[in-house]
Amino acid sequence: MSLFEFLMQPGIFDMVLNIGAIVLKIAVVIAVAMFHVAYATYFERKVIGHMQVRMGPMEVGPHGLLQPVADMLKLFFKEDIIPANADKPVFYLAPVISLTAALSSLAVIPFFDGFVIADINVGLLFILAVSSVGTYGIILAGWSSDSKYSFLGGLRSSAQVISYEVAMGLSLVGVIMMAGSLNLTEIVRAQEAYPTGMYAVPQILGFFVFVVAAFAETNRAPFDLPEAENELVAGYFVEYSGMRFALFYAAEYIGMMIMGSLAVTCFLGGWTVPHFVTQALPLLDRVPGIVWFLVKLYFTIFFYYWIRATLPRFRYDQLMGLGWKLLIPLALLNILITGIIKVTVH
């Protein structure tokens, strides 16, 4: 079969077109996500700046709007320093694992009705699976740098992320039970059909556990022990510089976006608005779903910043105690309650 014949087979053209469409979708999502990441850093600096009676970035562009671009250029042209005794292949690999894991979670998130790269049945499990792979980036960065600070950061982080993944997984079980599906699109649809319009109301316990666990999963304050600059200088990425550092940085922010999107899709109704709201204000029904999604997402991200500006940092043993002694029992209790309600209602 010649190449021409191969391409002219019935169906092959459609397939190529399909693949092209998917690739385009992926490119768009990644490009938009990266843009949001860049401006999430700006947003963070402005929000925290104003919370701390200062201005935040003001120099590059009007109100510092071009600051992310300047940062990116700077990081791009900085010298890439690698410790002499580092395990080089692993050292190179670690930030890539972090970023890839973070980015691939974007594949299953429904940004608005019908727009999701891969509408797979186990979407929620996919995110959990991918985020557990993302842990490797942190552990390996900590180990391969051959620095004691990054090593300690890596150890702390692996223990932390593994512990809180349990709590997070369990907190989502309630949502799965209510929606009866692991598919994120269907979870959103199920919420739309639910009287309150979002699961944050009936699943308030699960939502609380999820939010706390999400903070810990993304290593954000007050759970930023792996990178606590006042104890471990910068934790696992202390030896990274230039572009590789930027990859970690981007991975952290994409991780925040993923956790925010997950909170939005699983607890806050995704791209939909509760019915009672649209009944009261019919005009809101015309607002496109993506806007709702972004509004909710940026609210969660703002919450991240707010907490960072407010709370001191936990100690390692307090963190573990919180995870195992409070969050996991709470999540289990939530499952029990949801189960009892579900059985009695049916």
């Binding site: 692993v90 797979i120 186990v122 499990l125 959990l128 180990w143 150890l155 593994i162």
Partner: protein
């Protein structure tokens, strides 16, 4: 098309397994293992077992292998990498492994799929894999399921007991 996917996944799985076994640096072995698990998860997807694929990644890659990495990182690898890697007579042991393949091949020759259960591909897809698996697991296999949870509990207690330092009196 599916054959190509299978070819790639199978080839990668075998190659990565060999790398795991032959690697000098245990951390690198664990990393090859991670890649291999991801490829096995891909194989499960080819076999329409999406829930198992996710579980494979979450449990194997996310928990078990991290545990390995944790332990490996705590050990002094620089010394470890300098010493002899294989036991004496490893050639002979390699032959044993080949022998296993031979025995399995002989055993497989007579095997035919004669029994077809109720869960055809369509049936699984209709119910979605997770639900189908859940139905079977929580009806016919509820007792093994509970036993498995007991095993895990015992393992947790045992691990804590073993890894705990002896209390200095």
């Amino acid at each position: 098309m599916v054959e190509w996917f299978f070819g790639y996944l199978a080839g990668a799985t075998i190659l990565l397994s060999i790398l795991v076994v032959l690697g000098r640096n245990p951390v690198h072995s664990v990393l090859w293992m991670l890649l291999m698990f991801l490829h096995v998860a891909g194989l499960y997807l080819l076999l329409n077992a999406e829930f198992l694929a996710a579980t494979q990644v979450i449990v194997y890659a996310g928990a078990i292998l991290v545990l390995f990495l944790f332990v490996v990182m705590l050990l002094n690898l620089k010394e470890e990498m300098r010493v002899r890697q294989f036991t004496g007579g490893w050639l002979f042991r390699g032959l044993i492994a080949l022998g296993i393949i031979y025995v399995l091949r002989k055993g497989l020759e007579g095997f035919r799929v004669e029994f077809k259960g109720p869960w055809s591909i369509e049936a699984v897809e209709r119910a979605t894999h997770t639900k189908a698996l859940g139905q079977v697991l929580f009806t016919d296999y509820i007792l093994p399921f509970e036993v498995a949870s007991l095993v895990l509990l015992v393992a947790i207690i045992g691990a804590v007991f073993l890894a705990k330092k002896r209390l200095r009196s």
